[in-house]
């Protein structure tokens, strides 16, 4: 059974058609990237997968069940880290658990257990303002992962970081994934990020968005900084870029 299966999904807001006949499947333990031009309905797709919204047509299935907030199968990491300044880092990472009804003590205990793995040990009692941008994103990911939901949904998680920190974080995430084998759906507009991290890159067209290409990344695991200079890396990047440009070229009058 696929972790995530999007079947013929369309979504319209009044006259505005945002998604059309979208098909996408993610298998357990797969790292999938969804890439598309800005305004292509990535966030709409997000809302459908996280269960915040329902499709107009088609179905979104998470582990065979229709996506819904109640089913608790998708953990969502937003673009902004959304760490609350009034909570310590530990309390921030426990927030997701608290939000789904876990007691404060238990939530803290479970979050705390992951701090070393996320390179945040010693910062439990710090406030988010005292963390660097990369650490804040790691804390936000910890808050997401600690929920132990079957699907991780990452919305441009490193989009707000400077280029150097972003690369560092991408390599870090590649390493983390290697050890944990989470099922991940990463939405991004960074081709390099998609190719470095994903097994499969799904390319979206502009609105109304649909999947125009599905690029398998041929790079071996584990991946690291060396892959940036691999010829396969460059050719895959090129394929994704062509797919993206193809979509815009067709649509530009």
């Amino acid at each position: 059974m696929s972790s995530l299966r999007i079947e013929g999904v369309g979504k319209s807001f009044g006259q505005l058609e945002v998604l059309r006949d979208l098909e996408l499947a993610v298998e357990p333990g797969e790292f999938a990237a969804v890439i598309g031009p800005s305004g292509s309905g990535k966030s709409t797709l997000f809302n459908l997968v996280s269960g915040l919204d329902r499709p107009t047509t088609g179905r979104v299935l998470v582990e065979g069940e229709p996506a819904g907030v109640e089913s608790g199968k998708v953990a969502y990491m937003p673009q902004k880290d959304l760490l609350f300044p009034w909570r310590t880092v530990l309390d921030n990472t426990a927030l997701g658990l608290e939000a789904q009804g876990v007691g404060k003590k238990e939530a803290r205990r479970r979050a705390d257990a992951l701090f070393a793995d996320f390179g945040l040990d010693g910062f439990q009692k710090a406030y988010p303002s005292q963390l660097s941008g990369g650490m804040r994103q790691r804390a936000a990911l910890l808050r997401t992962v600690v929920l132990e939901r079957p699907v991780l949904l990452l919305d441009e998680p490193f989009g707000t970081l400077d280029s150097l920190t972003r690369t560092e974080m991408q390599l870090w995430l590649a390493g983390m994934w290697q050890r944990h084998r989470w099922t991940v759906v990463l939405v991004t507009h960074d081709i390099r990020e998609a190719v470095l991290l994903a097994d499969t890159v799904h390319v979206l067209s502009p609105r109304p968005a649909t999947i125009v290409d599905r690029v398998e990344v041929p790079l071996a695991r584990p991946r690291g900084a060396d892959d940036f200079t691999d010829p396969d890396f460059a050719s895959t990047e090129r394929r994704v870029l062509d797919a993206l440009r193809g979509t815009t070229a067709v649509r530009t009058p």
């Binding site: 608790g72 902004k80 300044p85 608290e98 939000a99 303002s129």
Partner: protein, 257 residues
């Protein structure tokens, strides 16, 4: 303590200059103290009548604090109601705004007629003058909660009450303290004014009595006490904010370092 001193000396300097000019003018021009007493005389007479002033300050302070407590409770209740119910927001909020145009001058004597010369009508005047800034700021604070944060919590299955408790209350705190500072400065004045309309004791009635006795110096002394009370309460809000929002200091220290 350093930053407090740094922010304190400019107003103190201005105050010294104003009081010095006043003192010079009164002495040089030989103004009759029943018209305008010199600051030195106000201090001197105030000190001589300190027992009297203190006895009148206590009831005013009591009215202020009790009235403000009532206002505080009502503001939270109404703001939470406005936040949870859009029907309440549509139905109540315009009326709350409209209520601010009712002159307290007209209402205060009515309250005396309805509730007598005791504590309650004074509390109510304080409540009426301080309620709105508190409630409006608090409601605005709840509403200003980051939409993305709300989405995140909803995606995790948190209900209205839990998102309110986990995020909205804390998000509203900076707004709440802004409202608190506005309204607390009205509180003492509200109490004094209520006493003016009719009371057995308090700084308001004391001012009135001293004015009738041509003791302008003691009127000024009472005014000074009122101002001191307001400033003390205003300062207390900063203390409270430090206690309630310890993270704000961490934020500031970080930015300055």
């Amino acid at each position: 303590m350093r930053p407090i001193l740094r922010s304190l000396w400019p107003p103190l300097l201005v105050l010294t200059v104003v009081l010095g000019g006043w003192q010079l003018y009164v002495t040089a021009a030989g103004v009759d103290p029943t018209t305008l007493p010199s600051p030195a005389r106000v201090v001197e007479q105030g000190w001589l009548n300190r027992q009297d002033l203190w006895d009148q300050t206590l009831p005013t302070l009591q009215e202020t604090l009790l009235g403000f407590a009532l206002s505080f409770a009502a503001a939270w209740l109404v703001a939470v109601l406005l936040d949870f119910s859009s029907a309440a927001r549509r139905g109540l909020y315009p009326l709350l705004v409209a209520s601010q145009t009712i002159p307290i001058v007209a209402v205060a004597p009515l309250l005396i007629i309805w509730f007598g010369f005791g504590l309650l009508p004074k509390m109510l005047v304080v409540t009426l003058t301080t309620f709105f800034p508190l409630a409006a700021n608090l409601a605005a604070g709840f509403a200003a909660t980051d939409r993305e944060a709300m989405r995140l919590l909803r995606s995790l299955g948190a209900g209205r009450w839990r998102t309110f408790r986990l995020v909205r209350v804390q998000s509203a705190m900076p707004y709440f303290f802004a409202g608190l500072r506005v309204s607390i400065t009205y509180a003492v004045v509200g109490a004094v004014f209520a006493e003016y309309a009719g009371a057995e004791a308090g700084l308001g009635i004391y001012m009135q009595a001293q004015k009738s006795a041509f003791r302008t110096d003691l009127v000024f002394a009472a005014v000074a006490v009122t101002a001191a009370l307001s400033i003390a309460l205003f300062g207390a809000t900063y203390l409270l904010q430090r206690l309630v929002l310890p993270w704000e200091r961490a934020l500031k220290e970080d930015r300055s370092s």
